[in-house]
């Protein structure tokens, strides 16, 4: 039921994210990337599935683990790598780094290093979309990404209440990897019933536990369609996932023994990139893999060859004119 074109597209986006990040991990020791990196390896399917039904002028807001969503929403790869290298050609001129990737041209609202902080900002952006729709006759949609940790912040519940009260055109998407740095969900939540809690605000909720890229994509696509047609949201999704690497940095930290290897194995067996790769014929897959290699090499070369910002740029943009 899924076209080869769609499978190829989803595969390429997911694999691009994975290989881009693994390349970062590979070169991290060279100190070319002078910025902490919070890698999304293992979590790519959610970002790709949720961004696929969106248009360029729809908006996503991010957490500090934002590489996957940035790439999935169509963010400029060269500008991303240059930003990580601290170069002037970076998506924020080298001033923001890995935790604050932005590309307004492609509907990427930026991200915060303070957990939960972008949730109300995305809600406000959605309110603006509702306000403008009367004039533009087009209902844009916002997707707010955050982790399970983000749902522990007060502003999450404040935002849900406000968005539901005003029926704002926003999809709240919780990437639940059950970890806040190293602290498991069991030590943080009185009850593992997030969807029930959210539902009590009068919000439609969906819980997807198996990480299936098609299920997530179809659920988001239905929500987007519904919001675009009616002008009314919000919709909430909780998508279970697994962080393969350490909280921050390039390392696989399973040897630190704070999490269960069996669960890791289950998520590796369920890897959506591997699954979709196997759905493609070998020629197509190889072609896509080569394209990905080229894009990453190009981005790396672009970043390496780009200049650092000049010292005068320190004082640029403190205040807007």
């Amino acid at each position: 039921m899924y076209t080869e074109e769609l499978v190829a597209h989803l595969y390429k986006r997911m694999s691009l994210i994975r290989r881009f990040e693994l390349r970062l991990a590979e070169i991290y020791h060279t100190d070319a990337v002078k910025s902490p990196v919070h890698l999304s390896v293992g979590q790519e399917a959610i970002a790709v599935a949720a961004c696929d039904p969106l248009e360029k002028d729809d908006i996503v807001s991010n957490t500090y683990r934002c590489h996957a969503t940035y790439i999935a929403k169509g963010g400029d790869l060269n500008a991303m790598m240059a930003e990580l290298y601290g170069k002037r050609t970076g998506c924020a001129g080298g001033k923001a780094g890995s935790m604050h990737l932005i590309d307004m041209e492609n509907g990427i609202l930026g991200a915060s290093a303070v957990v939960g902080t972008t949730i109300p900002v995305a809600t406000g952006y959605a309110m603006a979309m509702k306000m403008e729709a009367g004039t533009t006759k087009k209902q844009r949609v916002t997707v707010a990404f955050f982790g399970d940790g983000g749902t522990e912040e007060g502003c999450f519940y404040e935002s849900l209440n406000f968005a539901s009260l005003h029926q704002l055109p926003i999809i709240y998407l919780c990437e639940n990897n059950r970890l806040a740095i190293h602290t498991p969900l069991e030590k943080r939540w009185a009850k593992d019933n997030l969807c029930e809690r959210v539902k009590s605000f009068g919000i439609e909720t969906h819980k997807i536990t198996d990480g299936d890229v098609f299920t997530i994509r179809d659920t988001v696509a239905r929500a987007v369609k519904q919001i675009r047609q009616s002008g009314k949201g919000p919709v909430f999704l909780e998508c279970d996932t697994y962080r393969w690497l350490e909280h921050v940095g390039p390392r696989d930290d399973h040897s630190d023994h704070y999490r269960d290897l069996e669960t890791y194995q289950q998520w590796q067996d369920n890897d959506q990139i591997k699954r979709l790769g196997e759905m493609l014929d070998e020629v197509t897959r190889k072609r896509l893999d080569n394209e990905i290699t080229d894009e990453i090499l190009k981005a790396e070369k672009f970043a390496e060859e780009s200049p650092y910002p000049a010292a005068e740029e320190l004082y640029a943009h403190v205040y807007a004119s």
Partner: protein
């Protein structure tokens, strides 16, 4: 009423199409009305902005004129509502977010400091946050520790924010219009005791630019720089000082950040003495910053270092009972005494014998 805004005389106000006496609160309301009519992207929201009292009258009539899409109340949720304002501002709107107490803004600090102030810089100019945060401060009037704070220095500390605290009706309107048109987050501090004070205000729309202090009254003997409601006290102190032959120059910085240090230094070069009267605590406060900058600027210019003193709130939590509250705040008599001592020397003590009726004496609440 009270001092009839004598500090800003009719001829002082740049008026092309006439002025009239209106209250500070009405000047604010007029600013919203004119800007909302001019620019459909401006909206005003916050708890109680659309109720029958309309934030002490400052938002009355706006709902009827501009509709509930542009004038609406919110859940308390100060944290998220600040984020909502920032998101809408990034999306191209120009929100005015209202807090009826500055104390509540402590719930907004993450959004204001981490997002509003930083987004334009951190995203290298890709986004702007044209946001006005209106916040009311007040002399306690029995309200105690969490309903009377003036926290402007917290915001002055943060690159990316602007902080204004107009002391009269003319500046209230002009600063509000400038704040709404500004492409940066502006913390707009309104003192409750100023709301009922009349001033000459032009009918037309105009901006009072930030970063330009106003010499309210001239004098050669001592410069008194006062903030927000302390400008009123300083103007009364000037009257007291005149009875003993001392001419004080009264300066209102209007905007605390950006700060017009030139006007202050020019005045101090003339008088050689600067008394800074903040409407806040002194420690790490606006007065500390002004003092430092005056010193640095005088050194840089090779000028004599002036005699500088500071006054402000007692370094305590604000008490509710009137006798302690009276001791907590500077007033025209304590300001005059301090200025007298600066002019005549430390051995010369003097205190004015009485004070005119002031805003706090006439105030009957509730806030």
């Amino acid at each position: 009423m009270f001092m009839q805004a004598e500090s800003l005389r009719k001829e002082d106000v740049e008026a092309k199409e006439g002025v009239r006496l209106i209250r500070y609160v009405d000047a604010l309301r007029e600013a919203f009305e004119q800007e909302m009519a001019r620019d459909a992207r401006v909206f005003l929201f916050g708890l109680d902005v659309d109720d029958h009292k309309g934030i002490q009258g400052s938002t009355l009539g706006l709902l009827e004129k501009f509709g509930k899409e542009r004038v609406f109340g919110t859940p308390l949720s100060e944290d998220a509502m600040t984020g909502v304002a920032i998101g809408a501002a990034i999306a191209g709107f120009r929100p005015i977010h209202v807090h009826i107490r500055m104390d509540f803004m402590l719930l907004c600090m993450n959004q204001l400091v981490n997002m509003a102030a930083k987004s334009h810089y951190m995203y290298n100019g890709q986004v702007k946050v044209p946001l006005v945060v209106r916040t009311m401060i007040g002399r306690s009037w029995g309200q105690g520790g969490q309903h009377s704070q003036a926290l402007h220095s917290l915001f002055m500390h943060i690159p990316g924010l602007k902080v204004v605290a107009p002391s009269n009706a003319n500046d209230a309107k002009g600063c509000m219009i400038a704040a709404i048109r500004d492409n940066n987050p502006v913390i707009f501090i309104e003192h409750r005791l100023l709301y009922a004070v009349d001033g000459y205000v032009p009918y037309q729309s105009y901006e009072v630019p930030f970063g330009k202090a106003r010499v309210m009254q001239e004098g050669d003997d001592v410069t008194i720089l006062a903030v927000s409601h302390m400008v009123m006290e300083a103007l009364r102190a000037k009257k007291h000082l005149e009875t003993v032959g001392i001419q004080a120059e009264i300066i209102d910085p209007i905007s605390l950040w950006p700060l017009d240090i030139d006007t202050i230094v020019q005045s101090v070069q003339k008088t050689g003495k600067l008394l800074i009267v903040d409407n806040a605590w002194l420690t790490c406060g606006a007065s500390s910053e002004i003092l430092s900058q005056v010193y640095e600027e005088c050194r840089r210019r090779g000028e004599a270092i002036p005699h500088i003193e500071r006054m402000g709130f007692a370094f305590t939590t604000c008490p509710t009972t009137r006798p302690l509250e009276d001791a907590f705040y500077p007033n025209s008599r304590t300001i005059a005494s301090k200025a007298y001592e600066m002019v005549k020397g430390a051995n010369h003590q003097w205190q004015p014998s009485f004070d005119a009726k002031t805003e706090i004496d006439a105030f009957k609440g509730p806030f």
